[in-house]
């Protein structure tokens, strides 16, 4: 099923497909997000946003509004 990163709850994961061009996309590409088989939502900040995601060996926090731009398959 197609979805986006912001809809993952902590513990869930998906396969990244595409990053919609935005100010963040270049940085995300450099961090190799599209070359990873899985992206996992690890944990959320105390108020629920942002959320820490893991891909490869990196853990990166993104706001939900920005995580929306990363298309995934779950």
């Amino acid at each position: 099923m197609l979805s986006d990163l912001s809809r993952l709850s902590p513990g869930e994961s998906g396969t990244p497909l595409e990053v919609v061009p935005s100010p963040l996309s270049g940085k995300l590409l450099e961090m190799g997000i599209l070359s990873q088989p899985r992206v996992t939502a690890l944990f959320a900040a105390p108020s629920g946003d942002p959320v820490a995601y893991q891909w490869g060996g990196a853990v990166v926090a993104l706001r939900k509004k920005d995580a929306r731009w990363i298309r995934i398959r779950v």
Binding site: S22, L24, G26, K27, E30, L34, G48, P50, Q54
Partner: protein, 659 residues
């Protein structure tokens, strides 16, 4: 033969231990300098090696927290156009794929690239450097900069000066487009393939910088036409494809080079605790309290010692040279006295505060604090990193202002810069504590509780001002937030201390003294002249008196704030001096309540003073830092106007409260 040392640049993704490696290779002989007019400091130091001479350049400076924004721009600019001979692409052995991908992209620029995989002490399995070298064509070393493992091998590799021959080939379709561009490119000192790839990426900032710095203009219509033929992807889509190809190659190399894939990090138990729904806020409050408490308590003793030392020096010099000629008196009782005061009050708390702060940073907690606070700051139109710059401001606003570099998006950065001085720094703490203790002790015997309330109030006013600024002044692009959360790491206390002292404390202190010294001379002259009747200083305070009274204070207080412009720690001593009329800077001692009451202070006056202490104009070193960081008169003006407006209006109100 004496030849120029080889210049070796250290590049790398954030949090890979570049600075540790830098210090290991140079033996901690760091001095910082500026590069290309930018203010982000780039550390340079000679390589510690007997066999050959080289200079190491650590890119970029203070916070490896975000790796975005200006700092990254500086690093990119340097890597593209800087004068260096060789690059060490530093990466994390736990996560080697992005570093190899980075090394591959750097190899487009120069063939003198070495991949250094750091943290092999933490990596399991340890990647095989020889295998990576032969599979990728990039010379590779595996080290632990902290433990010193693999460093001799790295030095030997550096000495042999190997060339990278990347075995990475571009996808056939991309290669064809690169080849078709090559004959059209003007000659340049940069490799043609490197330029061709940037043209295909349509990398605007790079192409602009290229034409500015080297005069090579790649925006000709022929080139654009050749680059954009057919349906082939251009710009960001091309960049995406190139990045994918590099990562795929790096992934394959690492798959073969490691016996097992690196274990996923998963959720650390400390994350559960430090970012937990119910534990995050109490733990942050506790950390902040501990930070302030330790700073306040532990700095008393060294501050007192330093002050005694300066007083001894002053009286010693006076006795030695007596009778003092006028210039001698100016130097000793004016310049030396104020500078000594500033050093004694500033140095110990800054050293302790920022050492502790660096420990928090190195452990990985600081990034979590930014993560936890982000939602709150997002509602104020900013981001969690502003919380960190506010904490740095507690130590010293100069450091807080330069710390704003970690904030990537211009809007949030501007708001954080303008509001930073509204968080009272260490230098203003003694005044807050003393006056709170004298007027708002509430039976507890000291002003700590009320000072705590004032701090919360300052944070609230900062947030409100940020919200107003982002609504009215710094509108524009909605911003994004990308924060790598580093692995938790046991901090190394001595190295943190060293880094703190060299990078933050000494430079701030030096700036404060350069402002305090002339101010001390001016103050001395104003107090001494004319010989008969009230001094110029007394006349000045009398002149300011009506304005001061309007805002709940008096002329002496306003004059103290004006003359406290070089350093906030001198304001309360200047108030006492204004009342007592002596030419020495007196101590804020036990009889403070009696003395101030005798000069008409009520609780309302005290509250106005406290509020104005928190919100007035930034001190001179902070303004200088603001100017260095922004070079924007508008931001400088706002940085004075916003806190001043808040301070004046709140003092006006405070004076009319029924206390």
């Amino acid at each position: 033969m004496d030849q120029d040392p080889r210049v070796i640049a250290l590049a790398g993704n954030p949090n890979v231990g570049k600075s540790t490696l830098f210090n290991r290779l140079t033996g901690l002989r760091v001095h910082t300098g500026n590069w290309a007019g930018k203010t982000v400091s780039v550390a340079r130091a000679p390589l510690k090696s007997r066999s050959f001479r080289a200079e190491l350049v650590d890119l970029p400076g203070i916070y490896d927290l975000a790796g975005e924004g200006d700092e990254e721009e500086v690093a990119r600019d340097f890597l593209a156009f800087g004068a260096y001979d060789q690059i060490l692409a530093v990466g994390d052995a736990n996560d080697p794929i992005p570093s190899l991908s980075l090394a591959l992209s750097l190899a487009e620029r120069t063939d003198r690239v070495i991949l250094v995989l750091n943290f092999i002490d933490e990596a399991d399995p340890v990647p095989d450097a020889n295998l990576i070298t032969s599979l990728s064509g990039i010379p590779t070393a595996a080290v632990s900069a902290r433990k010193g493992r693999g460093i001799p091998e790295l030095l030997a590799l550096l000495e042999s000066d190997p060339r990278a021959k990347p075995r990475f080939t571009l996808p056939r379709e991309i290669e064809a487009r690169v080849s078709s561009l090559l004959p059209l490119l003007p000659s340049s000192s940069l490799p043609a393939r490197y330029l061709a790839l940037r043209v295909l990426e349509n990398d605007g900032p790079f192409l602009r910088a290229l034409s500015e710095k080297t005069g090579t203009d790649l925006s000709s219509p022929d080139l654009a036409l050749a680059a954009g033929t057919g349906e082939a992807p251009m710009g960001s889509a091309f960049r995406e494809e190139l990045a994918r190809a590099r990562f795929a190659f790096a992934g394959k190399v690492m798959e073969h080079a490691s016996s097992a894939p690196p274990p996923a990090r998963g959720k650390h138990w400390l994350d559960r605790l430090l970012c937990g729904k119910y534990t995050a806020y109490p733990l942050m409050a506790a950390a902040l309290f501990l930070l302030i408490f330790l700073t306040a308590v532990a700095s008393n003793y060294p501050s007192a010692l330093l002050e005694q030392a300066f007083q001894a020096a002053e009286s010693g010099l006076t006795a030695l040279l007596s009778p003092l000629s006028f210039p001698e008196e100016l130097l000793i009782n004016g310049v030396l006295r104020l500078s000594g005061k500033v050093i004694a009050v500033m140095l110990p708390p800054m050293a302790i505060f920022f050492s502790l702060f660096t420990l928090l940073e190195d452990s990985g907690y600081l990034a979590r604090i930014a993560f936890n606070l982000d939602a709150l700051f997002f509602r104020a139109g900013s981001c969690g990193k502003q919380g960190l710059t506010m904490c740095m401001g507690l130590g010293c606003n100069v450091v807080g202002v330069s710390g704003c570099r970690i904030i990537a998006s211009p809007r949030e950065r501007a708001a954080s810069l303008v509001t930073n001085s509204m968080i009272p720094c260490n230098g203003r703490f003694p005044a807050l504590l003393a006056v709170s203790g004298a007027f708002f002790a509430f039976g507890s015997g000291n002003g700590a509780f009320f000072t705590g309330i004032l701090l919360l109030f300052a944070a609230a006013v900062t947030l409100i001002s940020t919200r107003l600024l982002t609504l009215c002044v710094f509108r524009g692009l909605p911003s994004h937030f990308l924060l790598p959360l580093p692995r938790f790491r046991k901090p190394e206390i001595l190295k943190s201390l060293w880094r703190t002292m060299t990078e933050k404390v000494f430079s701030s202190l030096f700036r404060a003294v350069t402002v305090a010294a002339p101010a001390g001379a001016i103050l001395f002259l104003l107090l001494r002249f004319p010989a008969e009747g009230p001094s110029l200083y007394a006349r000045f305070t009398a002149f300011l008196d009506p304005a001061g009274r309007f805002f709940g204070m008096d002329g002496v207080i306003l004059a103290a704030f004006l003359f406290g412009f070089p350093a906030g720690e001198t304001v309360l001593p200047l108030v006492l001096l204004g009342y007592m009329g002596t030419s020495a800077l007196p101590e804020a001692g036990g009889g403070l309540f009696a003395l101030l009451s005798a000069h008409g202070w009520t609780r309302a006056t005290a509250l106005s003073f406290l509020v104005f202490t928190m919100f007035h104009f930034p001190c001179a070193p902070t303004l200088l830092a603001l100017w260095r960081e922004t070079k924007s008169p508008k931001l400088l003006l706002l940085s004075v106007a916003v806190p001043l407006a808040a301070g004046l209006s709140l003092s006006f109100l405070a004076a009319r409260l029924p206390l």
